[in-house]
């Protein structure tokens, strides 16, 4: 069993990162491996925000991410500096997610066999 960590620096919807993460993540778990955590950094922290608007024509990435982390027991952390920077409030977070310093990322990286990094895009 191999353990993975994902780092995401790209906004949802604007880039494909979160979609790939969810699809690849499912495949990783189906194959018997583990995802320790997902760390959101830079504009990637916008992924932590619960999406309230329901649309029939658009996937709800925040619901999908919340559910994915809950079902497979994956830590979902967002860089606290960037959370402060973007002004996203704790009560707006998707369930189970929390803010954490870069020490949290360092810890996740050191505990993982593999780290996959989704850059800021463009």
């Amino acid at each position: 069993m191999v353990s993975f960590t994902f780092v995401v620096c790209a906004e949802p919807y604007k880039y494909e990162a979160m979609d790939t993460l969810l699809n690849l993540g499912e495949a990783i778990i189906k194959k018997g491996h583990k995802i320790l955590g997902i760390f959101l950094y830079g504009s990637g922290v916008y992924n932590i925000k619960k999406r309230i608007i329901k649309s029939t024509s658009d996937r709800n990435l925040s619901d999908l991410l919340e559910n994915f982390c809950k079902v497979y027991n994956i830590e979902l952390l967002a860089c606290s500096t960037w959370i402060g920077f973007t002004g996203i409030k704790k009560e707006e977070f998707i369930e189970g997610a929390y803010r954490e310093g870069l020490g949290g990322l360092s810890d996740l990286i050191a505990r993982s066999d593999k780290v996959i990094f989704f850059g800021p895009g463009g």
Binding site: G101, S106, I109, S112, K114, V115
Partner: protein, 122 residues
């Protein structure tokens, strides 16, 4: 277990903030936790960040003093691609923070990536 990380960045200091964010992330990972080796490789337009004449105030943007101090304090290794310097028409004497910087060629960059447990382009 991932213990060594290489971060690459190639974007100019202003178009995006990738140099600043790469450095913040690198210093943050180094500061706390078990990852002991983080290197930042500066490619292409990112080299302008270390031009000693860099002048954010020309745009009414604050100086990058904090990030520069972070580099000094964290003893972060920053490696600059010699080609990037050449293309920008810069000499070593044109660079700030000389004691934290090292000039490398593409062969050395190739080796740094091979030696690290993981690498990513920010």
């Amino acid at each position: 277990m991932v213990e060594s990380v290489v971060i690459m960045c190639e974007e100019s200091p202003f178009g995006k903030n990738s140099v600043i964010e790469s450095i913040r992330m690198a210093a943050g990972i180094l500061a706390v936790g078990d990852v002991e080796d983080v290197k930042v490789i500066i490619l292409k337009d990112a080299v302008y960040f270390f031009d000693k004449n860099l002048n954010p105030e020309a745009l009414n943007v604050d100086k990058f003093t904090n990030v520069m101090r972070l580099i000094e304090l964290s003893e972060l290794e920053i490696l600059i691609h010699d080609e990037a310097l050449k293309i920008a028409g810069l000499e070593v004497n044109d660079l700030s923070l000389k004691e934290n910087l090292k000039i490398v060629n593409i062969q050395e960059i190739s080796q740094l990536i091979l030696d690290a447990d993981m690498s990513f382009k920010y």
